[in-house]
């Protein structure tokens, strides 16, 4: 246990902590319940927070791991411009990735809170908006090559000045987005959340006094820092690195993109250094530094094993280095709308490096994060439709259990859309949504199962746009666990079944069926050590074929009794071991074993 600040009453502090996080959550609920945007609701793609008067994060609501740490960067940009020009009734907004933002659809809204004329805190919100203009509906395209194609850039500015709306801003916005009703509806929700935060915070301040509030906010940051330091302190010191590759950026097709991280752990501090990562790319998958930091923090938080309030105190213990001009920290005119892909893959890269530090606390590679499918066009009355679907499913095998089947990626907190609702609201039919057998990376603890989803177009014509990955570079396995099967795209799966690339844009005609298959996650540990009962269960559930049970796991399953033949299994496992010719698997397997060994 760490030393507390003796000037702070632990009881009063705990009550304050409870109160301030409850307000941050209340803000988040306000947005959640009034949103117009499926992205907001289903992907929890918004966040709320309290920052102190200088913009340091004090408390962040429980929403999207991908936003962890985004607020201070955005607020710093506001502070830089307006620190001396901030008044009661001012509200600020921005979305420019090159001045505090993340990518253009994410609009930040900040409201400074004053008590007796003194600025005490800043209520902060970020929401992913349905559309911010640009060349493609949804402003989310992965094939833009410069930010100017991606939509309206909002530099840090006042959208309310001393309580008066900045009509110029709102008019510009209204004329430059495709669905102003939705965008304005969600902006209203952000403003309402800030208003609620202000009321609650002022109430708390009247109760405790301004000086106490300021001291308690500072202590909340210190408290998180103490917790984080203590947790990091128990980890082994050293330098641990890992590299992985994104298949390509969809523009330079077939050109792998390197992700490389070097984690240095010394005492109570961790540094994640992304130097060595690929230069920024043409496609719209370039990160901002803040997003690279979110990904790095997400992985580190996941292995700390304690519940630490999210704030500046955590950031102080984790340094994230991302050289400008790399895909980890793009510079103008880097396109970044679809940078989600890179963020998800960075979390996997972090786990790969952390596996060397704490092999018993990480998971093998997940499915690689969200695939994005969008189908858009105009109906016969020239009314536009935009259907956007994000899918992810599989966690990597863990040192203590299988990877999860059909679960949000750990970097997100997303929900899948109901097939019936998709069909009710879009000219799209979903012929199937189901797990794909024999795709999970075998392991003592196997990788999670991916699913496939088919989409049939019911309108005359539409543009299909797909952002997926993990085709060439499959989700890696750890410590003998094997990689999962690659992600796949097909046209007309029940007919010609043409294989499509991982990132593309194409025209669909009425009746065309597009099939997307998520990648299987990597396994953890030697599959020959998997409990035979677990293999039998998977076989009975038709998740693992009898053949795969025999060849991947060395388990001979009797499909009449759903038991395994112990003697035959022992023989088969010995046989498979012999095929390895005494070689041992490397800690990370990117290709199926033992072919991978033979290739080396």
């Amino acid at each position: 246990m760490q030393e507390r600040n003796p000037a702070i009453d632990p009881i009063e502090f705990e009550l304050f902590k409870n109160a301030i996080f409850s307000v941050a959550d209340e803000m988040a609920l306000t947005i959640h319940r009034t949103t117009y945007s499926g992205v907001l609701r289903d992907n929890m793609d918004y966040s709320t927070a309290f920052c102190d008067a200088q913009g340091k994060l004090v408390a962040q609501g429980l929403t999207l791991p991908g936003h962890l740490g985004s607020m201070p960067t955005a607020l710093a940009a506001v502070m830089k411009k307006f620190a001396d020009n901030m008044h009661e009734g001012d509200i600020f907004a921005l979305n420019d990735p090159f001045e505090g933002g993340m990518h253009l659809p994410d609009i930040f809204v900040f409201k400074p809170i004053f008590f007796a004329g003194r600025r005490l805190a800043i209520a902060s919100t970020i929401c992913h908006h349905t559309d911010v203009g640009g060349r493609v509906p949804g402003s989310n395209a992965s094939d833009s090559t410069e930010i100017y194609q991606e939509g309206l850039r909002i530099a840090p500015m006042k959208i309310y000045e001393r309580g008066v709306a900045n009509e110029t801003f709102f008019t510009f916005l209204e004329r430059n987005v495709r669905v102003p009703v939705k965008v304005f509806g969600d902006l209203r929700a952000q403003l309402a959340a800030c208003h609620i935060a202000e009321q609650a915070f002022l109430d708390l301040t009247r109760h405790l006094g301004a000086e106490r509030i300021v001291a308690l906010m500072a202590e909340l940051i210190e408290y998180s820092e103490r917790m984080t330091r203590a947790a990091i302190g128990t980890l082994p010191d050293g330098v641990f690195d890992f590299e992985d590759f994104i298949d390509d950026d969809g523009i330079d097709v077939g050109k792998p993109i390197r992700l490389y991280v070097k984690i240095t752990k010394q005492g109570e501090k961790i540094t994640a250094d992304w130097t060595g990562t690929s230069p920024q790319v043409k496609g719209a998958i370039n990160n901002t530094w803040s997003y690279t930091r979110s990904a790095s923090l997400c992985a580190i938080r996941s292995i700390l094993g304690v519940d630490i309030p999210n704030n500046e105190g955590v950031f102080r213990c984790v340094e994230v280095i991302a050289p400008p001009g790399t895909i980890a920290n793009g510079v103008l005119p880097a396109a970044c709308a679809a940078r989600g892909l890179t963020g998800f893959r960075m979390v996997d890269t972090m786990f790969g490096a952390l596996a060397k530090m704490v092999p018993d606390r990480v998971m093998a590679s997940s499915d690689g994060g969200n695939s994005g499918v969008s189908i858009g066009g105009y109906d016969k009355n020239r009314k536009p439709f935009i259907f956007v679907d994000f899918t992810c499913s599989a966690w990597g095998g863990r040192p203590w259990a299988d990877g999860l089947d059909g679960n949000s990626n750990i970097f997100a907190n997303m929900a899948g859309q109901s097939c019936e609702v998709i069909e009710a609201e879009n000219p799209v039919e979903i012929p199937c949504y189901e797990f794909i057998p024999d795709t999970m990376g075998p392991g003592k603890y196997r990788g999670g199962a991916p699913f496939r989803r088919d989409y049939r177009l019911l309108e005359e014509e539409a543009v299909l746009q797909v952002r997926s990955d993990r085709r060439t570079f499959r989700p890696y396995g750890l410590f003998g666990g094997q990689p999962g099967k690659p992600s796949m795209n097909y046209l007309d799966p029940d007919g010609a079944n043409t294989v499509l690339v991982s990132k593309f844009c194409m025209n669909l005609k009425r009746g065309d069926v597009f099939r997307h298959e998520v990648a299987g996650a990597g396994g953890y540990g030697d599959p020959l050590e998997r409990a035979p009962e677990a293999v039998v269960k998977d076989a009975r559930n038709e998740m693992v074929s009898l053949e795969a049970a025999r060849n991947d796991y060395g388990v001979i399953v009797d499909p009449r009794t759903w038991t395994h033949d112990a003697a035959a299994t022992a023989r088969r496992r010995a046989e498979l071991k012999a095929l390895r010719r005494g070689l041992t698997a490397p800690p990370v397997l990117r290709q199926p074993w033992p072919d991978a060994i033979a290739a080396e």
């Binding site: 705990e14 959550d25 609920l29 309402a192 999860l404 039919e429 189901e434 797990f435």
Partner: protein, 695 residues
């Protein structure tokens, strides 16, 4: 000859039984629950009351029952072996769920196991589109094959959920026929009967839950009814539903999904009745027992309801943002916010050196340290003993003795010393932190919905509710706390005071101002027809059948909706315009903003609620109260560093007939009420303790 209504509320440890006569007078009995077959304890307890009070069994009018048998089957995964038949391509909907997880940054998260394993989920070729048109005919050979396989696996019940069956149930009904013909002994549930609403996961999950608990509930209720017959209590048995209304045993056996949250609902209904009797428009009910605390909102005599909830999601602070745990059940239920805080909640120090309370509980074994059953971790009950709030010699009227020394030792070693605080200060801190955790439940049902909790009265019950209510009221600046008589048995009174109630909902997506009036009226008429048929089947004459209608609405494009009452009679264009305006007002009230006139409002669904009223209103009379005749004792109690220790009078409820200034502690058989310094308490005409927080 008097007649008696009998309320029976089963909890994990105790079964509460209350007999209420025509005049509202009541007799109570608390017996240990018989967990192998709950009916045994009920029968034994009732027999005791019949014998002790010399009541003729012919005088029993009805048995009103709140039960955890369905939720236990789900929580302990002891339901029936269940099969599922679904549309080709959708075998895994049940297991994929919504992808959502309830915990962030947690690699240890595991999904709850599916209630039907994949090998018991069978696909059949068929397809209906969103408008109900058949695109692919049902392949009956595949249906037969699936049924044969499931029968060979000895499933007890088969759930059937096909895509878009809410729009056209023909295929599901045909499958039901085939099951009946081919496997006459096998029970089944089809989703278009259970939940004819859009969203395949929610519909599948709800149908599967219904199927999974159906045989368990059927066995239990049949056995209870048989046992009642055996002891010559030939009354109807009515069950409390999650929505706060009663249902017949027959209906509960068909749709057991409606009685999953039977227990917690009864207390809220009791608070609702209390609010109506006292004429208070704004009430928050607060029910705190040994492991959890639950809050709910009652406005203008109406409880608030959720359309959907999760069973067994665990209890965590902030959980309203983080869904994905437990089993999704889309049936109307009283909207309760729950936190893991109760008398048994453990007080501990986190790695950052901060005191925390719960959600871990010492449970019944070993229980709080002061129980002397080997527990060494301090609990909220231990803190309350240290503070002098709980009398170690007077738990359950003195039948349980507590060891104050053990409470002090645990609090000192595990909390006070690590924090560097003296013992009373640490105990008081724990009391306040527990209160602040529970405040999050109260905020969840009030300020998170745009309601200012300061305008509400807190009705506190459950074994620990009256002990904490005043502390919470202070923090939230609520003005009034009401502690009803027999607060620890209050849920049972809720049972005795409820009405039969059924909910009928239909998806109906139209812009309010563009809706076809005749279509709208026809749908409402159909729903009311169904509602009427149900009440008639239960034997309610026309004079005792009442209906209310509600529309669920949102701005077009929004995802969540709000409920607004729908005018009675045939709907007119004017009524729809008023409906749109009422929605705008509700949106502003709940979220603090509304859209302009140019944004169209959309109806999402229509709901009709049918109420079956009893012949005579079910209302309890005021209890006979005892006074301590001036022989008031006292003991020292601690009220925080600003006030310190005070010699605090100990009173009975009857003593509060005269207005009493705090501090004061009211000790009763089933609960302890704390009136802090500065507050004042007095009984009202119904025997409730009314505490004015500001004196």
């Amino acid at each position: 000859m008097p007649s008696y209504r009998i309320g029976v509320d089963i909890g994990g440890t105790f079964t509460d039984i209350v007999f209420m006569d025509d005049d509202g007078r009541f007799l109570t009995k608390k017996v240990s629950s018989s967990t192998d077959n709950y009916a045994h304890a009920i029968i034994a307890g009732m027999e005791e009351v019949f014998a002790e009070a010399r009541i003729d069994k012919a005088e029993a009018l009805e048995v009103l029952h709140g039960t955890t048998v369905a939720s236990n089957a789900l929580l302990e995964l002891t339901g029936a072996k269940t099969g599922l038949i679904t549309t080709k391509g959708f075998r895994d909907v049940l297991e994929i769920r919504t992808l959502r997880m309830p915990r962030l940054y947690d690699l240890h998260w595991d999904k709850p196991p599916p209630l039907v394993e994949r090998y018991l989920r069978h696909e059949v070729n068929e397809r209906v589109d969103r408008l109900g048109n058949v695109q692919v005919a049902l392949d009956e050979r595949q249906v037969e094959h699936a049924i044969d396989k499931l029968v060979a696996e000895r499933v007890e019940v088969i759930a059937v959920t096909l895509i878009h069956s809410y729009a056209n149930p023909a295929h599901e009904r045909r499958i039901a026929e085939i099951i009946r013909e081919r496997a006459p002994g096998t029970k089944f549930c089809i989703s278009s009967d259970v939940l004819p609403e859009i969203k395949e996961y929610e519909r599948t999950s709800t149908t599967v839950i219904n199927a999974y608990v159906l045989p368990v509930v059927e066995r239990y209720l049949s056995s209870l009814i048989a046992e009642l017959k055996r002891i010559k209590v030939a009354t109807p048995v009515l069950l409390m539903q999650s929505n706060g209304g009663l249902t017949t045993a027959d209906a509960a056996m068909r749709m057991p999904m409606n009685i999953i949250e039977s227990g917690p609902a009864a207390g809220v209904v009791g608070a609702q009745l209390l609010a109506k009797r006292l004429g208070i428009g704004k009430v928050i009910s607060f029910d705190m027992g040994g492991t959890t605390a639950k809050a709910s909102l009652i406005e203008d005599g109406e409880v608030t309801r959720a359309h959907e909830y999760s069973v067994g999601s665990g209890i965590m602070i902030g959980s309203r943002l983080l869904s994905g745990a437990g089993y999704t059940l889309k049936v109307p239920a009283i909207d309760l916010a729950e936190v893991g805080a109760g008398g048994g909640s453990i007080i501990w120090i986190d790695p950052g050196g901060q005191p925390q309370v719960g959600p871990r509980s010492a449970g019944a074994k070993p229980g709080p340290a002061c129980y002397g059953q080997g527990g060494t971790e301090p609990t909220i009950t231990d803190a309350s003993v240290v503070l002098g709030y709980i009398n170690p010699g007077f738990i359950a009227g003195g039948t349980v003795k507590l060891d104050a020394g053990l409470a002090e030792r645990a609090m000192l070693d595990k909390v006070a010393k690590p924090l560097g605080l003296d013992l009373p200060r640490a105990a008081h801190g724990a009391y306040r932190i527990a209160a602040s955790n529970m405040i999050r439940a109260i905020k969840a049902v009030s300020s998170e919905r745009g309601r200012d909790p300061r305008e509400y009265a807190l009705v506190a019950f459950g074994g620990n509710g009256p002990l904490f209510a005043t502390g919470m009221a202070r923090e939230l600046r609520l003005k009034r706390v009401i502690v009803p008589p027999a607060a620890g048995l209050f849920s049972c009174f809720g049972l005795l005071c409820s009405d039969v109630e059924y909910h009928f909902t239909r998806t109906f997506r139209r812009l309010v101002l563009e809706a076809d009036l005749s279509e709208f009226n026809r749908l409402v008429g159909e729903l009311e027809g169904e509602a009427q048929a149900r009440l008639v089947a239960d034997g309610f004459p026309a004079a005792r059948r009442v209906y209310t209608r509600t529309a669920h609405l949102h701005y077009q494009g929004q995802i969540y909706d709000l409920s607004v009452p729908l005018a009675a009679g045939a709907l007119t264009a004017k009524a729809l315009a008023e409906l749109e305006e009422a929605f705008g007002q509700e949106h502003e009230r709940t979220y603090g903003h509304r859209a302009g006139k140019e944004e169209p409002v959309e109806v999402v669904s229509i709901q009709v609620i049918a109420h079956g009223l009893p012949e005579m209103p079910r209302v309890p009379a005021e209890p006979a109260l005892t006074r301590s005749n001036g022989k008031v004792g006292s003991r020292r109690a601690y009220f925080g560093p600003d006030v310190g220790w005070l010699e605090t009078p100990i009173a009975t409820r009857g003593d509060l007939a005269t207005r009493t200034q705090g501090p004061c502690i009211v000790e009763e058989y089933d609960a302890t009420t704390l009136v802090p310094p500065g507050a004042a308490a007095q009984l009202d005409d119904f025997g409730n303790i009314v505490i004015d927080i500001e004196g």
